[in-house]
């Protein structure tokens, strides 16, 4: 995975997170009649896609179907970008559970803004950028203080980008901690022998059973 300052619409073809983010679906209404692709709606009923059918399509497909020349589908705003959610983000960004809304919330929002080219309400982008920044404070705080936390409620509310930042920050802090205690170079009894972290004489590192 590579982190760059270029938007998702550019190259990064192999970016796994980008691929997964673009997999999110939006409700789409077909504007034209497309023969032979009736199976896209998941049922065996129709052979063709009739004009006006609503099918949820992934973002990458919508992007390719709507070129500058003609728009084959019309899409609605996803639930994640509605005014209600944005208002919630403006009020208290860190309390919103983005994982439940959309696991790749920020990447999808970025992609949609690029696709929409200005047809979204003006403040959408700013609200989202500001929300990211507000939540970031809590995330970065966690990277320094809670080094072992992986499954708490706070973490469950984060979207994938934030989880990534959290994990990398925790790893970095843990590495420094281990280096300071010279953990890699100390001889310890193997955890598989049942004592975990006891030193070579069998004395447990934290008060526990004696060997």
């Amino acid at each position: 995975m590579s982190w760059t300052a270029r938007p998702l619409t550019d190259v990064d073809y192999y970016d796994l997170d980008g691929i997964l983010a673009e997999q999110q679906c939006l409700p789409a209404t077909f504007q034209v009649h497309i023969p032979g692709m009736g199976y896209l709606d998941g049922t065996e009923e129709n052979e063709d896609i009739l004009e006006g059918t609503k099918i949820p399509l992934p973002v990458w497909l919508i992007d390719t179907l709507n070129t500058d020349h003609e728009m084959l589908v019309e899409t609605d705003l996803p639930k994640a970008l509605t005014e209600a959610v944005l208002r919630h983000l403006r009020a208290s960004a860190s309390k919103v559970n983005l994982q439940a809304l959309c696991p790749y919330y920020f990447m999808v929002a970025e992609k949609l803004q690029h696709m929409a080219e200005g047809t979204l309400p003006i403040t959408t982008g700013d609200t989202i950028a500001q929300a990211f920044q507000d939540r970031l404070k809590a995330v970065l705080d966690h990277t320094q203080t809670r080094l072992e936390e992986h499954t708490s409620e706070f973490v469950q509310g984060l979207d994938m980008v934030e989880r990534d930042i959290l994990k990398r920050g925790q790893d970095a802090s843990l590495q420094v901690k281990r280096w300071a205690m010279r953990t890699p170079a100390r001889i310890r009894r193997a955890p598989a022998l049942g004592m975990g972290d006891a030193d070579v004489y069998g004395r447990p590192a934290r008060g526990g059973r004696q060997g």
Binding site: T119, G125, D126, F132, D171, S173
Partner: protein, 230 residues
Amino acid sequence: MALPVQLQSALSPAEAEFLAENERIQIEPLRQLPVLGLIETEIGPFVPPRSVSVPLWLAIVLKKRGLCHVKPPRWLTAESLQDLVQAERTQDQFTPLPFHYMEVAKMLLEVAGDDLPDAGTCQTLLQDLREARRSKARQGVEIMDQSHIRVDNLAQMELNELRAPFTMSFSMMKRLQAAANLSRLGGSGGGLTRTTAGGTGAGASGSRGGGGMPSSSGTAAYGGGSGLSY
């Protein structure tokens, strides 16, 4: 790149320690040694009891073989550390410290503990110093602006620790900001239509004061900077 993720964007602490070993330090040799002809420089001659300035790695090697005494750097004494901790706790900014203070202190305390007066107090004082600086780093996140944050006097190890999460955060913030600018300026109306009302098209371009250029900055310690990729 086939590097593990942690190494892709920052040094490992062991690498930082390796880099710190180039720092010069004063030693008093205990035996006479000839001039050492190394690739970059020549070190020596070692004539006891005259003190010589050597790189840290050499000092550690000699010390481990009992061939020298190490003279601690001026900042590695109980009193000066005490002052530093005091200054750190009272000031808002980070106090200036040697760039490799953590690594040098650790190596010296491990290997040359007997040459340092009050090695034990030094250890605890260093912990205090580190804690004070860490809490400052946490507060620094509050004032983070979208494209850069200016922090002076961070040491190598601390910088390294903050590098990965901070660069990722800045990258993402930049991307979101660029997308927001696109939304704000309006466009020809691409592949998305909205169900909520309110045309934004032409009306958007003049309405924001700051104009359309995303603020980018190359300055300061944490510039998220375009073209940084990991």
